[in-house]
Point group: C2
Chain length 288, copies 2
């Protein structure tokens, strides 16, 4: 069933229940690589699936739009979905198994447990989206326990999410290694995101300003600038050149704690959230 | 190393780190049964270990006094400990492996995750001991993930703890079956508890009033009484006959939700917490 063929001809099996998943995995060759997604797959997900396929004997993609990580019901409602196309992309990218559960399969009636990660989940996205990271940590703990993968792959675009998931998995002794994969970008620098589909043509044309701002701040850093406030101001200054961009936050933070830095003495994460009309985009750049 | 010999001669291996545990378990015969304890083992633990040994190929006992489930530092400080004797009891009872980690091994520097169970953890012990069940759910999630046992054994004496752990394991998709074992009692009816050691001789003589109260309420129920308040009053009345007993709560609750019942139409849990001097005892009785 999970036979290995040439990638183009690969057959992907779709399972929807915990029981089907368990049954399918009992026969799976190890190691198993997991790519958790919320669907509407793009080239960023393709890169994660291809990497998982290259590094593991079996690749599982989960497709689950997790209601617990959406604060705003309207945001959940408008999150784009196209399972048939997603399954096709999974097959093309080398996945062996797609787990596409219903909400009730992940959160059965009476579900009443949450996983909370502390300080690392508080600033930035955690401050902007209360409860978001509890929803992320809870669903990822469930997916990790259900799949029991040796490795799970996440995009660096969601840098804080990566740190939160790493902390959760390490703290709860879940034996799945959390692997970060570089952000995949459009030719003009815009980070791929399922939310990009909501941008109007004008907003889409304006959106690469995130990347330009990050690269400008990075250039300042490479030229020797070590003031956190100077780097944040550089991000603000570049974002201000784009009238359609409304910055929500800009950050130059410690990569371990995500606390804002006055002075950059070691690795740092530049990051930002910017609103374009009704669409919120994030991006980041790691300074080594 | 984990050879099977006659119970009396059984050798038990003690491991202290996650790495040693993983190594020891990699060679363990399946299924694995886990008995999580806070040490100071008594005949109640013996019964759990013996049952685990009978039902599994490998039996693991964890000994860890979990600081996160103690609200009061003094209560944590005075919790009785005797690891050498505990290990001897584990060996006698048929355990193969004892996991006795340090606090830092379970909660390494930077640990910052908690597992929270909702409504079922709120009344009774949850109301009396704020944060207690978050500590329980968190450490048990860690232990379950570390050991990966097929089954884990808990005493019915801690009835709400059992429900909280079941809910947590089911919700987080941890594939360890939670098995409840009947409360083991002294000949005079006192439920075995590590805390009994703190009772003065007078308090010890008074303590069986918990069991007498539960049996009196049970007798009323068997005679047809279905009023929750009448059963709670029966518990109060019997406890009032013992001047050393200070009731903290008495309860006649739904076994699924632990909400207090006006009228008992199905299974119910009679339970109570009673203070004797500085020692707090709990006990319960299931009505089918």
């Amino acid at each position: 069933m999970l036979t290995r063929e040439s990638p183009a001809a690969r057959e992907v099996r779709v399972v929807r229940t915990r029981a089907e998943l368990r049954e399918a995995l009992s026969a799976a060759r190890r190691p198993v690589g997991l790519v958790p997604t919320m669907g509407w797959l793009h080239a960023g997900h393709r890169a994660l699936i291809e990497r998982a396929q290259a590094e593991n004997a079996t690749t599982v993609v989960s497709i689950f739009v997790n209601p617990k990580q959406f604060g705003d019901p309207a945001d959940l409602e408008r999150y784009p979905r196209n399972e048939a196309r997603d399954v096709e992309i999974c097959a093309e990218s080398g996945a062996d198994l797609v787990f596409a559960p219903s909400v009730e399969e992940i959160y059965p009636p009476g579900f009443d447990t949450s996983v909370h990660v502390g300080a690392i989940a508080e600033p930035l996205e955690g401050a902007a989206r209360p409860g978001h990271f509890d929803g992320v940590a809870t669903v990822v703990a469930i997916l990790f326990n259900l799949v029991g993968a040796e490795r799970a792959y996440f995009g660096q675009k969601d840098a804080q999410q990566l740190l939160v998931i790493r902390q959760m998995a390490r703290d709860l002794a879940i034996a799945t290694e959390v692997v970060a994969h570089p952000t995949v970008r459009e030719p003009d620098g815009l980070a791929l995101s399922s939310r990009n589909v909501h941008l109007t043509p004008e907003e889409r044309a304006a959106a690469p300003v995130l990347r330009r701002a990050l690269l400008a701040a990075r250039a300042r850093w490479e030229a020797g600038e070590r003031s956190g406030e100077a780097l944040r101001q550089e991000l603000r200054d570049v974002l201000a050149t784009e009238s359609l961009a409304t910055p929500e936050y800009v950050s130059a933070a410690d990569t371990g704690t995500l606390q804002e830095l006055d002075h950059l003495a070691g690795p740092a994460l530049l990051s930002m959230a910017v609103q374009f009309g009704s669409t919120r985009l994030i991006d980041n750049e790691l300074l080594p």
